[in-house]
Amino acid sequence: MIELYHVTKRYSGDSPAITDVNLKIDKGEFVFITGASGAGKTTLLKLLFAAERPTAGQIIIDGKNVSRIRERDVPALRSKIGVVFQDFKLITHWTVFQNVAFVLELMGLPGREIKRRVWWALKTVRLHHKLDAYPLKLSGGEQQRVAIARALITNPIILLADEPTGNLDPEITLEIMRLFSDINARGATVVIATHDRVLLEYMNKRVVILSQGRVISDEHDESSLIRAGRLARAGVGGPL
């Protein structure tokens, strides 16, 4: 589903944010990307949804090479990928409905179908009673759930999330993780970047650890004690 071969990303003048990363994520997997601040987590996700292009290497998404994707082909790629951000990225003068419906409007779906699917997506995140609210009237957790509803409404084959629980309290964090697990159970490949060690230990999924732009560990299944040691060495913290 997602394949990276010798991928390097260097921003002009700086040392590389990502260096020679090789990674393969299968269809339906649930993967955490972690590492200390500046390890390259966000850059890696940006490369996956073509917000950045790699300086070197190849990125294959769903069988298509997106390393040199043309600007006009980006919307088609993004229609397959749902993205959730730490700062939610909701348009504040649009209602919850308008924010979530936007991607379906882009696809040119009929109004009735849009209403039906928006209602379903908001029901999934238990916000169907807040259709007409504006984002700034919602709590942080609710705003993130709106962003998740927007990301899953197109039934994406891949769901990317960059620190989706970074601003949220532990209870809401678990609720958001349950949502991601549900989406994963329906078949979507889920990739989440986080530096929250507790979350990684709690979820017990595949964890890719980045340090200074390089993959230093990629473990599918390991004891929590070994993992805790590995994370601590990589500088991954979190509210213990």
Binding site: P75, R78, S79, K89, W94, F102, E105, G108
Partner: protein, 296 residues
């Protein structure tokens, strides 16, 4: 396709409403800019109208020699009527000239009582066709008429026409130059105002792109908004100009040399052109430099 077009219109309306404060400030700036341009056009239009108004009053007076008899006068009148550029010829006899002069003097008319003979000559007053009212044309005609038999002299207010014509040319050139500078400044202001509006929405554009909107789809509502904003702002600017014109100029009693002049407003086609320019500038402003905002 129709559904997407409807969505673009809806999005433009939604955004105009959602960013009302920013859009109103931008529209107010654009209105003020159009008002300034309008004032300059109005000055130019009225200078031209005033020039026409004064030129309409231009008369050429052909004074007759005292010994020119009835037949000589008839012959001269026929020649004057046939002269190029002459619209009509009116005769003033010596007696009539004296009577007119007395009327003009009013209470001081008794000054003329001491005269033992009428010193005023008979004359023909020529009014001219529009195309013959220019300074050079009138000067040439006066020279031709002076050479005719029976003509004592020809008066056409030469110096005054010359001064006015050259002054009007200088003022019109100055208005044109200033107007051109103002138009350049206005284009700059409008494009920067729209750029600021877009800058305030940079994040929104980024979000649209992140969730899969194409450049065209992000751009179109902005272009539409720019057009609506530009059109409305230009219309408001023109409306304000009209209100100022009605309140300030139209009803005024003009003194002295301006007497009888009716100020004119900018013609319909030019007004329509201004509003269309508003729409065009709004759209162009939204399109220009848009690429800065499209990287996401």
């Amino acid at each position: 396709m129709i559904r997407k077009a409807a969505f673009v219109f809806r999005l433009a309306g939604q955004d105009l409403k959602g960013n009302l404060a920013v859009n109103l400030v931008a529209a107010a700036i654009i209105s003020a800019a159009f008002l300034t341009v309008g004032i300059f056009i109005l000055i130019g239009v009225n200078l031209r109208a005033l020039s026409g108004h004064w030129q309409e009053k231009i008369r050429v007076c052909v004074y007759l020699q005292d010994d020119a008899g009835g037949q000589a006068q008839k012959d001269l009148k026929a020649k004057l009527e046939a002269a190029p550029g002459v619209l009509s010829v009116a005769f003033t006899s010596r007696d009539q000239a004296l009577a007119d002069f007395k009327t003009m003097l009013g209470q001081d008319a008794d000054l003329l009582d001491g005269l033992d003979q009428n010193p005023l000559p008979a004359s023909f007053t020529l009014s001219l066709k529009e195309e013959a009212r220019g300074y050079e044309e009138v000067k040439r005609l006066a020279a031709e008429l002076s050479a005719l038999p029976g003509v004592e002299s020809v008066d056409y207010g030469g110096t005054w026409i010359e001064s006015f014509t050259s002054a009007a040319r200088v003022v019109q050139a100055a208005v044109f130059l200033l107007g051109a500078l103002i138009v350049i400044a206005v284009v700059f202001i409008i494009s920067n105002t729209i750029r600021l509006t877009m800058y305030s929405r940079k994040e929104e554009i980024g979000i649209m792109k992140l969730v899969g909107a194409s450049n065209l789809l992000v751009r179109l509502p902005f272009v539409l908004e720019g057009m609506v904003q530009g059109t409305l702002a230009a219309a408001v600017g023109v409306g304000l100009l009209w209100a100022l014109f009605r309140l300030g100029l139209a009803g005024l009693a003009w003194p002295g040399v301006f007497a009888g002049f009716n100020p004119v407003f900018i013609s319909g086609p030019v007004l329509a052109g201004l509003v269309a320019a508003g729409a065009g500038l709004g759209a162009a402003g939204s399109m220009s430099r848009f690429s800065d905002f499209l990287r996401a």
